[in-house]
């Protein structure tokens, strides 16, 4: 925050602070994976996925560990599911029933539903981390603005909006069905081995007191009547079967639970479509807005710039024409002026063209355009690119301008001394990935900076996403992912 790096950089003036004159920083623009390690910081770390219970028969110890994990997790799922499920379901049901009664329910329902959603979100998260499933989307509709207001009025509107959301009812449905139906398979990975161990213990002598405590002296272990050491041995045999079943199928049972949860918790087709439509509406709105603003800017630049200069040039030329015989020296001066006007007009047009669609991008494609951009900046930028020469043109342009904006931010706002750009096209995923890393002082916040928001909006038109990792003190890493199918062929 104090800007120490800048002052340290700025004040020494002519004398290099230490060592040999050329800083060990070269502007190598490489095609290969960079070897200069970026500063310790946000490497694109994979999300912490807990070891998913993979039922692999290979080593026995692994299988046992997986079964043990499944047993513990299953117990947790069952207990938390039953407890939270019954409590939340009954409270919410009562609260909703109280809505018509003097509107009491209007006040109590929103916080309860928030708790239900938190519980459901926790389970969605577990489906991913414990269950190893793909991320389960949230199906909820965004609240309308009037329902976000404070006060009793806002709360009542919030309640009604929540009740109108089909996802609310699906959550309640899940609470009831999912936790009850899911609890049994969730408990089995623990219950089966436990019951099996009990069977073995019966054969080890426990049958006597247990059977003795029963009326008639017979204890039914599942379908085995235990009343002697012989029958207890049968119980032990069956128990070993239970243990084997529990160990073999425990992880599978647990993953069944997660799959059931995922089916109940993920957005319905209808809800997914509704969300998609809302998103498309928003991005289309942004696209129309930004292209209108862009056209307006171009119009103004041409009007005040090149157009005006050409008018001036025309006037100079006709003045020169009038002067050429009377006063050749003066005519020559006016002609020189006309030439300057035309040079200025060219410069302005060139800058304008660069802002519309950079010529290098048209001539060389994304990778070289970013390299050319890097060479233009006052700090060393290392560009690593693994992209085909040509990609879909609109995506190329969007990513180019996004990277340009991010690098400008690194120079202007982060006080960076170095930056790294990575471009990668993943044809299998149909995704263009770009990352801009700088060693500046960080603290970039997409919620505050209009620049980052603008980038996000522009990428949104292509269903692209932007994520920012910029702790105070730096470094800053911004990553972009834009859907981009492999090009049909070189153009």
């Amino acid at each position: 925050m104090t800007g120490t790096p800048q002052t340290a950089d700025g004040t020494p003036g002519n004398t290099p602070p230490d060592g040999p004159p050329p800083p060990p920083v070269t502007d190598t623009v490489t095609d290969t994976v960079t070897d200069a390690a970026p500063p310790a910081g946000p490497t694109p770390a994979p999300t912490p996925t807990a070891a998913a219970p993979a039922p692999s028969p290979a080593p026995l110890s692994n299988g046992l560990a997986a079964a043990g994990l499944a047993a513990v997790r299953g117990l947790w799922l069952a207990v938390s599911g039953i407890v939270a499920g019954t409590v939340l379901f009954s409270l919410t049901a009562v609260s909703i029933a109280l809505v018509p009664v003097l509107g009491i329910g209007l006040l109590t329902t929103p916080p309860l539903l928030a708790a239900v959603r938190a519980h459901a979100d926790k389970r969605r998260e577990l489906c991913r981390t414990w269950g190893g499933l793909a991320a389960v989307g949230r199906p909820y509709r965004p609240l309308p603005p009037e329902a976000r207001a404070g006060g009793p009025g806002g709360r009542a509107r919030r309640c009604l909006a929540l009740l109108r959301d089909p996802a609310t009812w699906r959550d309640l449905h899940w609470l009831l069905a999912g936790t009850v139906a899911g609890a049994l398979p969730a408990l089995l990975p623990l219950a089966l081995p436990a019951e099996g161990v009990f069977g073995v213990l019966l054969a080890a002598g426990l049958w006597e007191p247990v059977a003795g405590a029963q009326d008639g002296g017979v204890y039914w272990y599942a379908f085995v009547p235990v009343d002697s050491q012989g029958t207890a041995n049968y119980a032990a045999l069956l128990g070993l079967g239970w243990i084997a079943l529990g160990l073999r199928f425990g992880p599978a049972l647990l993953s069944l639970v997660f799959r059931l949860d995922a089916v109940l918790l993920r957005p319905t087709r209808r809800a997914a479509l509704a969300r998609r439509v809302a998103r498309l509406q928003q991005t289309r709105h942004d696209a129309v807005d930004s292209s209108a603003a862009e056209l307006r800017r171009i119009e103004r630049d041409l009007h005040d710039g090149a157009q005006a200069r050409l008018v001036a040039m025309g006037m100079s030329l006709s003045t020169a024409e009038a002067l050429i015989e009377k006063d050749p020296a003066q005519a020559k001066a006016v002609l020189a002026q006309a030439r300057r006007s035309s040079a200025d007009a060219l410069t302005e047009l060139r800058d304008l063209v660069r802002g519309i669609h950079p010529p290098v991008l048209a001539e060389r494609g994304l990778a070289d355009a970013v390299r050319a951009l890097a060479l233009r900046l006052p700090l060393p930028v290392e560009v690593t690119a693994e992209v085909p020469r040509r990609l879909a043109e609109p995506v190329e342009a969007a990513v180019y301008f996004a990277v340009s904006e991010l690098l400008t931010n690194a120079v202007k706002h982060a006080g960076a001394r170095r930056a790294w750009v990575t471009l990668r096209h993943v044809p299998e995923a149909g995704l263009l990935h770009a990352a801009v890393l700088d060693d500046g002082h960080g603290g970039a916040d997409p919620a505050r900076g209009s620049g980052l928001r603008g980038v996000e909006r522009r990428l949104g038109q292509f269903d692209g996403t932007l994520s920012v990792d910029s702790p105070p003190g730096g470094p800053t890493q911004v990553t972009l992912d834009v859907p981009c199918p492999a090009p049909g062929g070189p153009r």
Binding site: D9, G10, P12, G13, N14, T15, P16, P17, P21, P22, P23, V25, T26, D27, R339, S342, A343, L346, T347, R350, V353, R354, P359, V360, A362, E363, R364, D368, R371, A372, L375, R376, L377, P378, L379, P380, R417, R491
Partner: protein
């Protein structure tokens, strides 16, 4: 001096032909696309080629690619590349083989016919003509702790002209000083930047450009 010219816009091609002919160049071919340029460079073996970066049929950097390919085939073939925009990336590619006989100028420079004709002659003679904008960009980047920052304003001015590819005589004329004064400036510059002194104009340019290009 025999010139092959490649420019796809009729107005500009026509203007360039007139201008170069007025300065005594012989235009052996004036073509408007990449394949014809390649053929002309191979068959006519001109003394110098003046080439627009962007040419049909691809309207990408076809002219530049043709020029680079022709120089690979015939090292040192003098090529002056013209463009509506200058990019250091392209300048680096043109200079990469280190053989000289390379020019890279904004089309605007054609406005000054004398200087443009001079640039064509210089390139044809194996020299260099780099656009002032390329040099400015090279100077604009990089940290403050570079030895370039220790140059006096006059030395810096001289260095920019050296980097553009001008001879001591041309620099002296431009700055209205004696050639001796320019020689003194250049030896100071080379000493400050730690570059080996060379009487060969071309090697001198390449050394300065290479120096500016590394940080």
């Amino acid at each position: 001096m025999r010139v092959v010219l490649a420019e796809d816009l009729f107005l500009l091609r026509d203007g360039l032909v007139r201008m170069l002919e007025a300065y005594g160049f012989e235009i052996t071919a004036a073509v408007d696309n990449g394949p014809e340029l390649s053929r002309a460079l191979r068959e006519l073996r001109p003394d110098v080629a003046v080439v627009d970066v962007r040419l049909p049929p691809s309207f990408t950097d076809e002219g530049l690619q043709c020029a680079l390919a022709a120089r690979r085939e015939r090292p040192g073939l003098p090529v002056l590349v013209l463009s509506q925009h200058v990019e250091q990336l392209y300048a680096q590619e043109l200079l990469a083989d280190g053989t000289g006989g390379v020019g890279y100028l904004l089309k605007d420079r054609v406005f000054d016919a004398d200087q443009f004709a001079d640039a064509v002659r210089r390139v044809a003679a194996g020299g260099t003509a780099m656009d002032p904008q390329v040099i400015q960009q090279l100077l604009a980047r990089g940290g403050r702790d570079r030895p370039v920052e220790t140059l006096t304003p006059r030395e810096r001015e001289v260095m920019e002209l050296v980097a553009q590819g001008r001879s001591n005589a041309a620099i002296a004329e431009r700055l209205v000083v004696t050639e001796r004064a320019v020689a003194k400036h250049t030896s100071n510059i080379f000493a400050k930047l730690g570059l080996p002194v060379s009487d060969d104009d071309n090697r001198r340019v390449l050394a300065v450009l290479a120096y500016l290009d590394t940080r």
